[in-house]
């Protein structure tokens, strides 16, 4: 029943279902999709030629349609992540023709529409590829490392209750806007998937930048950068060597300047730490 023809690839073309929609509106694409049973399986590309879809479908809707057809034939559907399908939850995570989230700039794959592809185009779909994001099945990966980085320091240490009035500390609009620019990171991990070193600097930089632009976040600025970077290293993400592929694929267009901000805070944290050491333990 399930998955028996995964290895067959070409020559096992499912017949496209007859369509009731006007044919001029329809198009066909030839898909090549990564199938992998579980974390221990080797995985391979499987071809799904001649998949019919409409240009108005989102990329994920096109996969939904393919999945319906696979199941109608008694096969297991392709596992992929999505939830909001509005580009804001960060759940969807497909590499399309080698580019995380596909060809459209500033767009998550759930917001990509088939009108961005040509009729008859070959499309290769793979999961995020990074050591710190192991594949769990087909196109689904484990991004738990991102949560552990945030848990290490990506917050302001306030408890519930007893906070000063929201307007007690004015924040210049420009600063608030910069904080918001960085805070719009959706934690999708495309930056890591795009980076030849699988570095997570854009993601970490986005959080550090968000909080350092607000007075509320400044007290812990150095400690935060240090703790997040240390955890990032421990989780197996690579180093940044300024390829800037991350910025190019980021669906929220987080700029690489956040990495410079991160480096500044990290460096000054390291310096402080060394001064403390030289001082004999910094009041411990």
């Amino acid at each position: 029943m399930s998955g028996h023809d995964h290895g067959h690839g070409h020559g096992h073309a499912p017949n496209p279902a007859p369509s009731h929609a006007p044919s001029h509106a329809m198009m066909r694409v030839n898909l090549h999709i990564w199938r992998q049973k579980d974390a221990h399986d080797d995985g391979r590309m499987v071809a799904y030629p001649n998949v019919e879809c409409s240009p108005d479908m989102s990329f994920l809707e096109m996969l939904d349609v393919l999945n319906e057809r696979l199941q109608e034939k008694g096969e297991e559907p392709i596992a992929f992540d999505s939830d909001c399908r509005e580009g804001v939850c960060g759940m969807c995570s497909l590499t399309v023709n080698g580019t995380p989230h596909g060809p459209r700039k500033g767009t998550t794959v759930c917001q990509l529409h088939m009108r961005s592809f040509r009729d008859g185009e070959e499309i290769f779909i793979e999961p995020w590829r990074a050591k710190a994001f192991p594949v769990q099945k087909d196109l689904v990966v484990d991004r738990g490392a991102f949560d552990r980085i945030i848990a290490a320091g990506g917050f302001v240490s306030v408890r519930t209750g007893g906070c000063p009035d929201g307007n007690a500390i004015p924040v210049p609009k420009e600063e608030a806007d910069q904080a918001m620019d960085a805070a719009s990171c959706i934690g999708c991990g495309a930056c890591v998937a795009a980076c030849p070193n699988a570095a997570a600097m854009l993601f970490v930089g986005a959080k550090v930048s968000h909080l350092r632009h607000l007075p509320q976040g400044q007290a812990e600025q150095k400690r935060r950068a240090q703790a997040m970077v240390d955890t990032m290293d421990a989780e197996g993400f690579g180093n940044c060597s300024n390829y800037f592929e991350c910025e190019a694929v980021c669906p929220k267009e987080i700029p690489v300047k956040v990495i410079a901000e991160l480096n500044r805070d990290y460096l000054s944290a390291s310096l402080t730490r060394e001064e403390r050491k030289a001082d004999g333990g910094g009041g411990g």
């Binding site: 409409s54 759940m91 529409h113 848990a151 609009k173």
Partner: protein, 637 residues
Amino acid sequence: MILDGKCPTGPIETRWERCKAELKLVNPANKRKYKVIVVGTGLAGASAAATLAELGYQVDAFCFQDSPRRAHSIAAQGGINAAKNYQNDGDSVWRLFYDTVKGGDFRARESNVHRLAECSRNIIDQCVAQGVPFAREYGGLLDNRSFGGAQVSRTFYARGQTGQQLLIGAYQALARMIGLRKVTMFPRTEMLDVVVVNGVARGIVVRDLISGKVSTHAADAVVLATGGYGNVFFLSTNAKGCNVTATWRAHKKGAFFANPCYTQIHPTCIPVSGDHQSKLTLMSESLRNDGRIWVPKTKGDARSPDQIPEDERDYYLERRYPSYGNLAPRDISSRSAKYACDEGRGVGPGGLGVYLDFADAIKRLGEATIRERYGNLFDMYERITGENPYQVPMRIYPAVHYTMGGLWVDYHLMSNLPGLFVLGEANFSDHGANRLGASALMQGLADGYFVIPYTIGHFFASTKQEKVTTDHPEFKKAEAEVTARMNRLLSINGKRTVDSFHKELGKLMWDKVGMARDRAGLQETLQKIPAIREEFWKNVFVPGSGEALNQALEKAGRVADFLEFAELLAADALHREESCGGHFRTEYQTEDGEAVRNDQEFCYVGAWEWKGDGKAAELHKEPLKYEFVHLATRSYK
């Protein structure tokens, strides 16, 4: 049974203060002896889990996404209300309370709503302290915008991503507690049942969505913050994963389900483009601050919008509701759009759309200002439709958006099943028959940050409970039932996909139990649902195994629950012989199409008790008293 919401009495302004003063406390050193399970880490669950952990309770938190940061709350766009009166435009706790009771069409509890309005102010302070980057004015102070159903500007926002920023604030507070090992987080874990021991909720059954392993967790109380059930309609603005499973299973274990027929249809969504559609996208209500809604005056006018002169356009909201205009409440705006389309004046494919036009605002304020205010929404619209809304008016149509009904809770947010607390969209408590914009985020955070931390302590301090472990026979039994049901789904091996059933159910619900309902249609629905359900259990195809990541199996379980729940929703809609808020019965309307409420007979919360498979649910009533805002016909004219 007459239900008692255990609301405090006396002056409304001091009820919550007095309640808090009377609550029993758990001494700080004893808190760590109590374990709390929090299911759901959206705004309500994440804020609750973080706060309870800060107080010293042991917390186990669960969500089905791969990270708590991805809960459906993330998608909220427009904003969050708070009675700060920063604009000096006459706002106050009283006014927010009043607007919410009226907006809810007099079907919410006054005590709860007043508490919500009080807490709203603390929420903003809390979020600012966490580093939520709310929009600011040039002077550095917080900015506000207006939302439907209010004549003051009290909505705080972070561009078009308010839910995202509030959730990230709560998620970071939660992450901090996870890092300190005060919360154990179980992502990609779905709750499939509640375990009840001696009449008290003492644990849950869950499935690890990666390994497929089913297991149980025991605690001293269970908090459900699992969101709403809008996806019973298949197409809605909710995230794909939103479901009724957690609350429905709790219902089948004894928790009453209140007002399931109160569903909100949002007026401004992108219209359906074809059969393949997997979900609908909201265009935030905040757009109605600057956008004007219109349709052509004449039926079937096929000219492009820029060819239709001003005097041949019908700005129907401005015409019918001059004092609120384009900011009329959601139920009214949605229904008005439906009427316009029913009359044949709709625009776009199939005539199922109306224009939301920014031309005037762009002329008045300039494109840059509009871009600053709504840029990301305009971009989203363009991505989905391929049209540029700076140049042509948006086309919008109503879509299912939010569910006011939910598990019944008392003033302490505890259901009738002791030990089971319900927060956020999952409960029924604060919005009556219609929720005002920017009030769900406020309610989720009020429940999680400022209500449950007090009331759960009172529950622990005032009830003696023995320790229970997962070795208890009730845990074994519940686990075995969950496994058996899963195996049954996997073994049917039929011919139809899970989605095909979900779409069939959704279409039926939208047609007959959607924006307008009537007796015959509801009766027909009540006949059809059991037939779809029967076919599902005979003919669904769920591939793969239970011992691995299996998304078809996850969906199958959720759709099976929707197929049971839908019947209750329709039955509730049939029983409520009046029109109120999001529940519109065509038999009960005025000549010009306004809703007619029946306070004589229906001024109550309808809470349903599960009586077993194949048996009708039993209705219990909680009478609603209006001591402060007097019952009146809602008018936005």
